[in-house]
């Protein structure tokens, strides 16, 4: 049996604007996605902001009703058997909210344990274990309002493991964390993976998905545009090389000209303070560098590098719509 099964799931939001002349707009957040997650698998949903990741997780955790389609978690339908689903899952939404800040960490866990119907003697044993797992054993008697963002996120992880759920939904758990906090949290996720928990992780950090996930579904504009292992996704760009060029103040029209060059497969531009990083994917490799330099029309150039494609490049290609297969 699949731990999670999603079949042609849709979700549309209705947005109303105006006071006198009211208009109604329908925004499609999830547009017919289907996927399955096996027990013990760590499945990643990777996509840009607004792609539909959080909406998908909210439907699977019974917090949102689908507009159409079906989904089951641990064999239970998320609409008709919500109570059974809720008993078997744990979830985290990225960010600091969702805790009682004026209570201390231990009391937060004690309260949430009762809400998950964990017997008091089990909770008394389990809470210190979880506090140790997430590295908060020395701060458990302090009010949560004094915790750093990373500590709050780790408390969320402890909260979600209180009732030892079969399936975990982690929605951008490392968002906003400093590198050390994010690394600590990824280690906790690895530990949960070792315990054979089924985990659905959403993220827009490529390296995180690459490092943690068994399989990744790339979601964009509410659709799954690719679904494969991290290695399988990288093969989408195995025929390409990546030229990274650091430029200073490149005009938008020059970017458009480069994008239309015959040897350019995809082009991504990343702003870095005063500079921009152009990331060109091309089948011609380093041979394309002279033509690329010539097309920069005198724009000041910094470092130039030719390298093998990464998962991030595969992702850029997929969400740019160049490769819609999968």
């Amino acid at each position: 049996m699949n731990a999670i099964k999603v079949d042609d799931l849709h979700r549309t939001y209705t947005v109303r604007t105006g006071i006198i002349r009211r208009s109604v707009k329908h925004v499609v957040a999830v547009d017919g996605i289907s996927f399955e997650v096996q027990p013990g698998e760590l499945f990643g949903l990777l996509g840009p902001n607004g792609a539909g990741k959080t909406t998908t997780v909210k439907m699977l955790t019974t917090l949102l009703l689908p507009t159409s389609g079906t989904a089951s978690v641990a064999g239970y339908d998320v609409v008709r058997q919500g109570q059974q689903v809720r008993q078997r899952i744990g979830f985290i939404f990225g960010g600091e909210r969702g805790l009682y800040w004026r209570l201390n960490g231990y009391d937060n866990l004690r309260y949430f344990a009762s809400l998950y119907h964990v017997e008091p003697d089990v909770a008394r044993r389990r809470i210190p274990e979880l506090l140790e797992l997430v590295g908060l054993e020395d701060r458990a008697d302090e009010k949560v309002e004094g915790y750093s963002r990373g500590m709050k996120q780790r408390l969320h992880v402890a909260r979600t493991l209180l009732h030892d759920p079969e399936i975990l939904f982690l929605d951008e758990p490392t968002i906003g964390l400093d590198p050390v906090g994010a690394r600590q949290l990824r280690q906790v996720i690895r530990d949960m993976q070792q315990e054979r928990k089924t985990i659905l992780l959403t993220t827009h950090y490529m390296f995180e998905a690459d490092a943690l996930c068994d399989r990744i579904g790339v979601i964009d504009h509410g659709k799954i545009v690719a679904l494969d292992t991290p290695e399988g996704l990288k093969r989408h760009v195995s025929d390409l090389s990546v030229i990274e060029v650091e430029v200073y103040g490149i005009p938008p029209e020059t970017v458009d000209q480069i994008r239309n060059l015959p040897f350019v497969d995809t082009l991504a531009v990343e702003d870095r303070d005063q500079r921009q990083a152009l990331r060109v994917q091309t089948p011609r490799g380093s041979e394309a560098v002279p033509d690329l330099m010539a097309s920069l029309n005198g724009v000041r150039v910094g470092r130039v590098q030719v390298r093998e494609p990464t998962l991030e490049d595969a992702y850029v290609r997929l969400v740019s719509g160049v490769d819609g297969s999968g």
């Binding site: 009703l65 008993q87 909210r97 969702g98 004026r102 209570l103 119907h117």
Partner: protein
């Protein structure tokens, strides 16, 4: 299947956490302790000029005002507060029904508010030298237990009502004094126009105030107490049934409209 024992445990822990949480909230401290004290002092000043023994009436009445203010603002806003803190989604995604959590929080507020009655008692006794005696202490104490049940149920109705119908919430401040008056907290409803009486009868705090005032003054009879306690329980059951319907409607609507959390 969730067992009753588990739900009772959650409600009690929710009450404990509610008390701990509220202990750090200045507004709750004001609504529960300061405001009823002000009302008690004003009432006692007015009644001292008038003569007669009204001390206990004011003590009970001002205590009930504290109870109602706390319920109206804290319980009424319970779901909104959970939404703002981001805990509503967490609570709704858990196996415990949301109404059990709110019920526990209401219990905390009601117990806390009973403290305001004690405060008014001390103020009347020490500041104004009123001889404060409860004429029928046993019926008075039993009435207090019924009042806790009755107000907890009344508060349970407020949270989903305020969410399902935001228009009611807009008049939240305006609801404070009409209930003081309609429920006879500070003066008998006999002084009100007759057409308002049916409204008073549908409100369990009215029967609570009636039982307490009568037991304090030594005017309670077995028949009057049976009527007051019976109606507190009956109305409490009706409020639970109505709130269960509203909670279900609220959560269905929130899941459909995506309004459980702020994005």
């Amino acid at each position: 299947m969730i067992r009753l024992r588990q739900l009772v445990r959650v409600a009690l822990l929710s009450a404990e956490m509610g008390l701990r949480h509220a202990a750090t909230d200045a507004f709750v401290i004001f609504a529960v302790f300061v405001q009823p004290l002000i009302i008690a002092v004003l009432g006692l000043f007015m009644l001292r000029e008038r003569g007669g023994d009204y001390g206990m009436f004011v003590v009970v009445g001002s205590g009930l005002t504290g109870l109602w203010s706390s319920l109206l603002f804290v319980s009424g806003n319970a779901i909104t507060t959970e939404r703002w803190t981001g805990t509503l989604e967490v609570l709704v995604g858990m196996p415990t029904p949301l109404w059990v959590v709110v019920l526990g929080k209401n219990l905390a507020h009601v117990l806390q508010s009973l403290g305001s009655m004690v405060l008014a008692y001390v103020a009347a006794s020490l500041l104004f030298g009123y001889p404060l005696t409860i004429a029928q202490p046993v019926p008075f104490l039993i009435s207090l237990v019924f009042i806790v049940i009755s107000f907890v149920c009344f508060g349970l109705l407020l949270s989903p009502l305020f969410i399902v119908n935001p228009d009611v919430q807009r008049f939240q401040n305006g609801l404070e004094y009409p209930i003081y008056i309609l429920c006879g907290f500070l003066f008998p409803i006999l002084l009100l126009p007759g057409w308002t009486n049916p409204v008073s009868y549908a409100l369990s705090p009215y029967w609570a105030a009636r039982a307490l005032h009568a037991a304090a003054a030594g005017e309670a009879t077995a028949a009057s107490l049976a009527l007051d306690w019976g109606l507190m329980l009956a109305l409490g059951a009706a409020y639970i049934a109505l709130s269960a319907f509203l909670f279900k409607r609220l959560l269905d609507k929130a899941r459909r409209d995506a309004t459980l959390g702020f994005q």
